[in-house]
Each structure stands twice: as structure tokens, then as C-alpha cells.
Symmetry: D3
Subunit: 172 residues, 6 copies
């Protein structure tokens, strides 16, 4: 394991701004959930690339819920920042905002966590720098990353529920 200097979330934060176009929408003229996930994946991948300075591939997408419709013509802003790294993997936190500018409406529509693995040109995993959180929110997300990671491993059947110590606390 190489001795890479730690990096702060602010060093790799990514802001992506997009206009909702006709082909992105469903019968109700709202942005399709899958299209938004596509944009979120690209924004998060750029952040993971910036943190690791490597090629990255998507490893997993945590539960994402869609409670607010985003309309045709709205402006979507996605901010992506790394929360914590584990060897070759990085968890990225995403926040999605939607604006109907002429109507003066702005709302946060989604929050999600995507995980990426840094790889070399052959696709082999490779170590990434650790994350050094700065703000209170970054620290909270850094701490929660362990719990989310256990949930991912349990859901992927790569960890037994009874070994997920962080998760068990939650349900105690």
C-alpha cells in the first residue's frame, strides 16, 4: 500500500449543470429517473477521477429515491464530492438541485452515494489517497461511510448481516 498524501473533498468537488431537454422526459414532461442517474454517474466519476488521478469505474449506486419531479426546461445542478476512500474504492456524495428559473423555484431533489474503483489501463484496482474531511458535514459523511459500506456488502451478499457491526447498532 503506497503512502499517498491525503486529499480534501474540496480538492475534487465537481459541479455539473444541465438543461432538461425533450428527449430526457417522460409522458408527463418530467425528467426520467434513469436519465438523471446517468448524469449523476458522470458527475460522480469525474470527482472520483479528480481525487484518484486515475481512470475509475462505477462499483455501486446506493438507494436513490425520487420524490420531486423535475420538469422539461428546468436547470439541473449536480454537485459531487468524495466522502471517504477504502484502498482502491471511493464513495462519492451527490446532491441534485433543480431550478425553474422563470418561475423562481429552486429545490433539492435528490441525495445519493455512488462508489467508484480506481483502476489502471488493464482494469486492475489501484490504491487511492485517503480523504481528509474538513467541514462538520464532511466529517459526518466520512463517519457514516463505514455503515453504508457494510450495507452495500450485506446487500451484495459479500458480508453476513451478523458481522455488520455498524448496521447492527442502528437496529439495536
Amino acid at each position: 500500500m503506497p503512502n499517498l498524501p491525503k486529499k480534501k473533498p474540496s480538492q475534487s468537488v465537481t459541479t455539473m449543470t444541465e438543461l432538461v431537454l425533450p428527449n430526457d422526459t417522460n409522458t408527463l414532461n418530467n425528467l426520467m429517473g434513469g436519465r438523471l442517474l446517468h448524469l449523476m454517474d458522470i458527475a460522480a466519476a469525474i470527482t472520483a477521477q479528480r481525487h484518484s488521478e486515475r481512470i475509475v469505474v462505477t462499483a455501486s449506486v446506493d438507494n436513490v429515491s425520487f420524490s420531486e419531479p423535475i420538469a422539461l426546461g428546468d436547470v439541473v445542478t449536480i454537485t459531487a464530492q468524495v466522502t471517504r476512500a477504502f484502498n482502491s474504492s471511493m464513495e462519492v456524495y451527490l446532491e441534485v438541485n433543480a431550478e425553474n428559473i422563470p418561475a423562481g423555484i429552486k429545490k433539492t431533489t435528490n441525495k445519493a452515494f455512488f462508489t467508484f474503483v480506481a483502476v489502471d489501463q488493464m482494469g486492475k484496482p489501484i490504491y487511492v489517497p485517503e480523504v481528509e474531511p474538513e467541514t462538520a458535514e464532511e466529517k459526518e459523511r466520512f463517519d457514516g461511510a463505514l455503515r453504508r459500506r457494510q450495507l452495500r456488502l450485506v446487500l451484495a451478499k459479500r458480508m453476513k448481516p451478523e458481522e455488520a457491526t455498524e448496521l447492527k447498532l442502528l437496529f439495536a
Copy 2:
């Protein structure tokens, strides 16, 4: 709550077959995770439409993990079938297969659950038929739906962990 006749998963199953094209791929010439999620969302939405015979909107995407790369030129087959309905929402099970046909390689790359809500033209939720599972696998997914729903509600902070009785059993 209307008295709609129950429907079987086989009545709304959807098969989507796609070719991985250059613009779907990353630097390693593999399908981007977000693009796959986009396709999965469309396949699952068609299944939910077929089950409910209504307009549907994506409500949530459960944890999806990407462990196998899918290459440029591969054929991707997505099958989507409804597992269980709760009032106006439907859980859809997705299985993704990828084939490199000239190389004779075929593999299951992803399994996931997406949830949809049936709505009327105004976007208001509307009751959908209950699901009547037939095969052993369909019954297992029908039973597991309750546990996955609790997890979704806990993660969306709409249920307290200590009230998630099905989930607690898992960690006991």
C-alpha cells in the same frame, strides 16, 4: 381502494435487448454504469406500465452493484418483472445479461430492484392491481419485497430503524 383483479408477473414481463454503442462507453471501452441504469429504468418502467396500465414514474432505485464489465459491441439483455405492489407503488426486479456473441461468452452482470408509482394525468398516485406470484422464485421475491420496502423507508428517513421489524430480524 378499488377492487382490481390480481395480475401475475408473467403478464407484464419485459425483455429489452440493446447493442453497446461507442457513446455508451468509458475510456476502457466498457459500458458506463449510469448508461446501464438509464436502460434499466426504461425497461422497468415499461413493466410497471404494463402491470398497472397507467402512466408510471420512478420512485426509487435500490442499491445496484457493478462487478462485471460489459464491453463495446456486447449485446445487453434486460428482463424486468414486477414482484409486489403496495397501493400505488410497484417493485420491479431486473436482471441484466451481457453477451459477447463472437467470443461465445454470456454472463449475468446485474440484479436490481426499482420501484415505480402509478399516476394519473395530473401526476396523482392511483391504485394498482396486486401481484400474484407463481413460481418459487417469484414467491421468494414477493416475500422479500416487504423487507426491501422497509429498508427503502429507513434510508429515506420515512421509517425509524427500530420500527423496521423485518429488517431487525435480519440482524438479530
Copy 3:
């Protein structure tokens, strides 16, 4: 000519399901004919790939007529199955269905035959397995393939009309 085992149409059948999106439509909000041909070509190519287990290229598209409009938001289902093989070429039969699910309308909109050639990495034609039809419909399409092939050759000016024995019977 290699001694490849025969294959049944059911071994390579392909189902493609697509949602009609805004950019696929014309001024009347109906699916453009050319866009449908594009989807049919991909579905048929996948079937031909699966039958031959080779790279394939489109050789010809037989007469396709468009008598039923398919609307924005409709679900299009294309099924493609191989009918007969001639050395390195395969004829694929396509059937297109369109559903307006909330309105409860489902109709068969198109039937067509596309022909593909299996090629190696250099683009050279290469032998493919013969087709062994099973059902009555598959046998009828197998038999008709000879007549359609003569029509293709006559139209491409690679056969003289008076040599097209199968076609001449039709007009006798």
C-alpha cells in the same frame, strides 16, 4: 463449406422493447419510419449474430410498409428470428408491435425481412449454420425465403427475371 450443425430459429430469437421518445417523432408526434428501421436493423443484427456466432453486416432490407402510426410514448416491441440461411447470408423475419398501454391498445404495425452476411474480422464472408424450422409458420417462412431471395437478386440486377423460377410461378 464447413459441416456446422443446424440451428433452430428459437435459439437466436431476439425481443427488443423501446419507448418512443420525443426525438424519434415527426410533426404529428408519431414515430418516424426511418427511426423504426434503425431499431429493426439492430434487433435483426443481434439475431443474425446469435445464429452465426459471428460479426454480421446488413446486406439488404426488403420492402417495408408503414400503415399504422406509432405515437410518442408508445411501447414498441420488435421480435426478430432467423428464417433461412444461404451460405454466409441469413434472412431475418421481423414483427413490430406497438402498445399505448394506458389506453389499452396493442397492434401489429409492421412485418419485414432483413438479410445479413456473417463476416470475419477482415470483413470476409464466412459460412453460417443452416436453419431448421420447427413450427408451421417457421416452415412457411423457410419455404418463402427462396422466392424472396430471387426477388432481391432480380431487384439488385444480379438475376434475370426470366431465371427467377420461383417468382415466375407467382405470376403464372
Copy 4:
């Protein structure tokens, strides 16, 4: 039937020039047949619109064969001109040329006939001007249109082969 003045093919001819982009290509880096048909349909529809000064919809595509590959980066030029009108329908002749400019190679790759129907805002067919051919080639295509129309009707099972007088001559 209204007394519309005849129009010449040169009054509605359309030239479409496109660059073959990565997403248009197959595994061999050649333009996919279906993508070319999509472009041809748009070029032909513009010609039919110009001839009729109406909204038009694709009615049918005659047999198209693909004998020459068109490579990534090639320039594709499609010319479309109306050959003959029958009440509300127009036959359009298409010629496709492909150029690899840095290599100094230019070739005619496809010739085809597409048919369109002019419609009003409700989608009802509406009369179009007759075509007045000028050059020898235009006159030959004008004359052949009758035979091609009979073939289309026979293939669509809307005319009995024995009634197709023009076609029968061909096989006599």
C-alpha cells in the same frame, strides 16, 4: 381531386451531407445499415414535403441493398428527388454517395425508392401535384414507378399477382 399545377423533380430535390460519427458505426467501424436508412428517410421526407408543401409520412421503403461499406469519418451525401405522384402518395428516388476525402475515394453505395403520403393536420391523406419529369433519367424513373407501385401492392397483399400487369410483363 383538385387541379394542382404539375411540378418538376428539380423543384424539390434535396441534398443531405453527413459525417459518419462513432455512434453510427458497428464493430467493424462501418456505418450501420439502419442508421443510413434513418438518414435516407429524413432526406426523402424533406423532398416529399417540398413537392407537396404538406406534412408527409413514410408509407413504404422498397428493397435496399448494402453492398459497399461506408467507414467512420466518411462523408455521406444523399440526394433525394421525387419521381412520380399517385393522388396523395409520392415516390422518392434516393442515391447515396460516400467519400473518404483524405484517401481520394468516392463511390455510389446505394440507390433506393421510398414512398410518402401527404396528410393534413389530422393525418388524413390529401392530394399532391403531379410530377413532370424533364431529363431522360427522370422520365425512365417516372415510367418505372408504375411497375414498382404494383410490386409494393403485391408485397403488401393489396393487389393479386395476376392483376399486376406491369410486373407480369417483366416475367413473361
Copy 5:
């Protein structure tokens, strides 16, 4: 002319981050100039929308030069901020940066000015807030806007060169 409160450039600044995908590139695998202009237009339009809180349409694009290639897989970051408003029109300054992250290369590739007009639902021009520059750079761009506006008017033949007092100073 309404008495709208002035707004600062920082209140409407937009950051757009994009990955260069295969279909965006030319034969040399570099981003096509026209595709970059397309992205710049969207980023600038969002900024103009945010400043005016209105629908906006592109009025003009000033001279843009492309001296640095941007490669497939690079990350493009476009920042757009308003420089000055004239009645219903707004000038937007754009800066484009390209990063090859795994190679550790980051460069500024383009600087440009786009102009937008705010319109109502009928497309009629409508007054927008004036711009109040804060930083030295913003003030310099605010001052230069007058000269660039005269150049635009002269080039569009809506002002005689001899009346372009600001421009004439430049060549004196």
C-alpha cells in the same frame, strides 16, 4: 424601463462539467469545435436565465478561436458569467478548461463572449437587471463590453464603422 435592482456576476455564475464522449470527436479523436460551441451556448444561456430570471434566446456569438485540442475522455469545465446588460440583452463571458486527469494536465482552451436576449412567452424582448461588477476582472470586462457591442453592431451592419467611437480609439 422598469427599475430592477442591479445584480452581481457571482449571483448567476454557471459551472458546467462534461466528459468528452466518442460521438463528440473527429477523426483525430479530438472534441469537434461545433460540439464545444453547443455546450458553451447551453452554459451561457443558463447564466443569462439566472441573471434575468426569464426565458432567453441566443443573440450572437463573438469570434471564438480554437488553438488547443481537447481529447476523447478529457473533462471539460465551462464557466459562464454575465459581464454587462444593455436593456434586454446580456453579454456572457465564457472560459473553457480541459483536463486529462490521469495525465495530470489541465489547460485553459477557450475564452469567448456570447450575447442573449431575455424574452417573454411570446418571444418579445423584456428588460433585464443591470450588472454590478465586483472584482477587477469583472470591471474590465464590464468596460470592454461597450467596445465589443460596437464591433457586433458593425459586423451585423447595424452601425457604421465611423460611428463606432470605442472601436475607432483602438485603431487610432
Copy 6:
């Protein structure tokens, strides 16, 4: 500097015809400026390729103004012809026409100059043939090219305003 034979603008003229599709449009259902620039860049690049018989890259786009909206469903025709060459660079003149065919409306919406550089496979600039204008308009554009080139160099800060002799005449 090689002794390449001069070529006429008519030898490389390009006509591109496109239909305005939903995804090309803004909230007012009009073609977005950036999308039009994208199409113009491709049309102009094909002309520059044809003149030089080389790979070309966009060097600059001169001021383009957008005074006329182009609506969804309109037919856009772009003609591109080379005006003058300077060593390895070529200036291309573009004229954009838009037709609403069913309404019988046709208008010239944009005129612009794009500049391209011919390069070899390594991206190195390479000499191109000189342009020999034929018509009065071509000669006028040939002469004006010198003035536009000076303006480009001044705007790119590669020439001092006081050295731009052609431009100075304009403001005298």
C-alpha cells in the same frame, strides 16, 4: 511550400439539409443557437476537407448573429463554400436558410465565416491549394478575407490593432 494547383469554390461546396427535431429546441420550441453552430461546423469542415483533401480542424468561428428564430419541424439548409486559403488555413463562408414548408415560408437566417486548418495524421499543419474565385460574390468574399483575417488576429491578440492596415481603412 508545395506548388498545388488552385481550386475553385464550386469544387468543394457542401449542402447540408436537416430537420429541426425536438431535442434541438429550447423552451420556445425554436432551434438553439449552439445546436445550429454545431451543424454549421460540420458542414464547413466537410467543405474544408473537400478543398484540401486533408483532415481539418476548426481554427475559429467569426461573429455569428441570430436574428430570426427557426422553429421545430423547419427544414434547415446550410451551404458552405471556401472563400480563401492562407498557407494551411481556409476560410469558409456559410449561409443558413430555414423553411417552414407547409406554411410556404423560406428565409435566410444566418451568414457566417468559419476558419479551418488542414493537418496531417499527427495534427501538424499542412499546405492547402489556393482558392480561385469565379463569381462576383466569390471575388468580393476573397477580397474581404484579408480584412476578416486581421480582425481575427487582433481579437486573438496575435496582431496589434495599429498593424491591421485593412481594418484601419475601415475606421478612417
